[in-house]
């Protein structure tokens, strides 16, 4: 979309601002529920071209600016939900209940605490996460290295030591579970 004139922007705000809560994310971005991720992105980028606050920076009407920004913020929300697979699934459920927004109360129940929560030292935590990433890639040596780094920052964290033992065991058994 090309840059909009102030009149076009005002008309746009009049049309959408009042009924923002009645529009689904699909309506807002002008896509359908089957639209692929890449096409959702393309639609959002088109909208952004015309409606990102930077494109009406010089607009004098503050109230109009505020309204446009609220509309655009909702489009950002739509984009984020529709391009995150888990959120998109959750949103499909919400829509069947007649709601138009995925709000926090509709969110999946609180995530369980992550294992690294018990690690105090920031560096240890960082290397622990890297170790877990390595494990995910089945890179046992990399995992060993990162867990060892983690332990060097925090020697007494049970969770690190446990992972070290597990990884060591997997490394010792080539062809065993988890090995390359």
């Amino acid at each position: 979309m090309p840059r909009q004139t102030p009149e076009q922007l005002a008309a746009f705000a009049r049309q959408l601002y009042g009924k923002l809560d009645q529009l689904s994310y699909y309506d807002l971005l002008g896509v359908s529920s089957g639209t692929s991720l890449a096409d959702v992105r393309a639609a959002f980028y088109r909208m952004s071209s015309a409606l990102h606050p930077d494109s009406y920076h010089t607009l004098a009407d503050r109230e109009l600016k505020e309204r446009l920004e609220t509309i655009y913020a909702r489009m950002c929300e739509a984009y984020r939900v529709l391009t995150t697979p888990e959120k998109r699934t959750a949103y499909a459920r919400v829509l069947t209940e007649g709601k138009k927004r995925l709000t926090s109360t509709d969110r999946e129940s609180k995530a369980p605490q992550s294992p690294e929560d018990s690690i105090k030292h920031e560096e240890a935590k960082k290397f622990f996460r890297l170790g877990m990433l390595s494990l995910g890639r089945k890179d046992l040596k990399g995992a060993m290295m990162n867990f060892n780094f983690a332990r060097s920052f925090e020697p007494n964290a049970a969770v690190i030591n446990q992972k070290l033992v597990e990884t060591q065991a997997a490394l010792g058994k080539p062809g065993g579970p988890g090995a390359k």
Partner: protein
């Protein structure tokens, strides 16, 4: 009236503008285009900037402020500031509202004031060069700067008499300067290794839209650390020759550090550096001692290999958080002077398995993007050829304190801005009349492991049993990355909206006073204010 783009760096700053559709970088007083981010205060009230300030790091370290960007917008009690205090030769103290303030020869200065003085100097350089007044500016900040740091940067701009059109993320500015994505969709990694910090950002660029997919970095890793590694090599050589450790003497240390930086630049172009540094320290007999040295590039590279590896480690982590691998990146852009170091380029090339882009000057590329965006904003509404839409994300998760010492997240990190999110909370005691909303930034589930940003109070809640009152808390982050928090009693509709009273920040009243003070003290600048630097011998190959 002109608008400009300013890359306000930890070590150097660059200011640029667009003239007749071309980016023009404003030259620095002593040649080149980098203005060292240094302000030196003298007892007679004069202030020295840029390279003149750098010279005074040796003669007047106590009143010469550098690396102000490491302190801006942070609480004095934060570990970053405490760490800086331990390293810096000038005195910092805790001021109002947990701010770090610099103890100058005449009075104390808040950090936004010091940065404001520097920005004012840059503005004057630009006005002198253009022969035109400068009114508005886009100022760049690291992508991982938090709300408070962005706010303090805007305050600094205001103190310098600038209308801050936007604070822009540095990597986005760099991508904009390269003008990528015009005709296709590309994924770009911006590897920014500057004087004081390292940042890595992944962008998706398509047509005129630039979207930040993920960003991360290390605020305590930069070219300065490479300088320190070289300084240690030089100091050991000096000690071997004279039996004195020059690091024990502040002035000798400062001289050696300046030399180390020059040796580093030399080693970036040549396989070895040799030379003589005169007057490094004074012996017990009162005689001036010189250092003769000969350092091969590979000695330097051995010393910095671990530092460079850390940047690759962080890069890998940020890519993983975007669900990407190195092979899915179409283009790598190099930003920051430290990317001139051959080992840095080699390691980046090895990791991404492609040569990085270095065709634009890595020191200037961010200011280019800022200047382009300043021009875009000043002419918003017109259909410019190179208008761009920059989609930024929240650098960190944002949440509030809840019972049990936990933090309840309201906004995730890496969420496109602007964004507005509301969550509903209840009161935790019977007949609670006031709720205090403590805002924090960070990913930890424990409140005290995150960075506290500030707080907001909603009072006048009617008596009710605990849990019966619903308080809606709305977080709104604008395109500058600035957070506003609204708390609303759902039953009565009573609401309180505020920019969070940021700890470590200046109050609006303080900023207004500083703006006035700066206005009344400003004097036009002329070339006579720019004496020569002749402290350090040039290196000879």
């Amino acid at each position: 009236m002109s608008v400009v783009g300013i890359d306000l760096g930890t070590t150097n700053s660059v200011i640029a503008t667009v003239r007749d559709g071309q980016v023009v970088v404003v030259p620095a007083a002593h040649g080149g285009y980098l203005h060292p981010s240094v302000v030196s205060f003298s007892a007679d009230g004069l202030k020295y900037f840029s390279r003149e300030g750098v010279a005074r790091r040796i003669v007047d370290p106590k009143y010469t402020v550098y690396s102000g960007k490491r302190l801006i917008g942070l609480s004095f009690r934060s570990k970053e500031v405490q760490r800086a205090v331990a390293r810096l030769p000038y005195e910092l103290r805790e001021g109002n509202n947990e701010q770090a303030v610099f103890v100058g020869p005449d009075r104390t200065y808040t950090i936004p004031e010091v940065s404001g003085l520097l920005l004012g100097y840059l503005r004057q350089c630009c006005e002198l060069f253009l022969g035109d007044t400068v009114t508005g500016a886009v100022i760049t900040v690291p992508a991982n700067f938090n709300d408070a740091q962005r706010r303090a940067t805007i305050d600094a701009g205001r103190i310098a008499g600038l209308d801050v059109l936007r604070v822009l993320n540095e990597p986005t500015a760099a991508a904009l300067a390269y003008g990528l994505g015009q005709h296709m969709s590309q994924r770009i990694a911006v590897y920014d290794f500057g004087g004081g910090t390292f940042d890595i950002t992944i962008l998706q660029v398509e047509g005129d839209v630039f979207e930040v997919l993920a960003t991360g970095g290390d605020t305590f890793l930069g070219g300065d650390d490479l300088d320190t590694a070289l300084l240690n090599i030089l100091a050991e050589l000096f000690r071997a020759e004279h039996g004195i450790d020059p690091r024990d003497d502040q002035a000798a240390h400062a001289r050696l550090l300046i030399a180390a930086e020059q040796v580093k630049c030399h080693l970036s172009e040549f396989p070895e550096a040799r030379g003589e540094l005169k007057n490094i320290a004074v012996s017990d007999q009162g005689e001036q001692l010189a250092l003769r040295f000969h350092i091969a590039r590979n000695v330097f590279e051995t010393a910095i290999r671990g530092l460079v590896a850390r940047t690759i480690q962080t890069t890998q982590e940020v890519l993983a958080s975007a669900g990407l691998g190195a092979s899915q990146i179409d283009e790598v852009i190099m930003v920051g002077g430290t990317t001139r170091v051959p080992l840095v380029r080699a390691e980046v090339e090895r990791y991404f398995a492609r040569p990085p882009r270095t065709d634009l000057n890595p020191d200037e590329v961010v200011s280019w993007g800022a200047a382009i965006q300043a021009e875009n904003l000043a002419h918003a509404g017109e259909n410019l050829a190179n208008h761009a839409v920059l989609l930024d994300v929240t650098p960190r998760a944002l949440g509030i304190a809840v019972a049990g010492g936990f933090a309840e997240r309201i906004l995730d990190r890496n969420v496109p801005v602007p964004v507005e999110q509301t969550r509903i909370f209840t009161t935790s005691a019977d007949n609670q009349s006031t709720v205090r909303i403590q805002v924090c930034q960070g990913e930890s589930r424990r409140f005290d492991e995150n960075v506290p940003l500030g707080e907001l109070e909603l009072s006048g809640i009617p008596p009710a049993r605990r849990g019966e009152i619903a308080i809606e808390v709305t977080f709104r982050v604008d395109t500058n990355g600035i957070l506003r928090v609204r708390a609303r009693d759902a039953a009565t509709g009573a609401a309180r909206e505020a920019a969070v009273n940021v700890r470590g920040g200046m109050t609006d009243v303080e900023v207004a006073e500083a703006v006035e003070r700066q206005k009344s003290q400003e004097s036009p600048m002329d070339d006579s204010m720019l004496p020569e630097l002749g402290e350090v011998e040039e290196l000879k190959d």
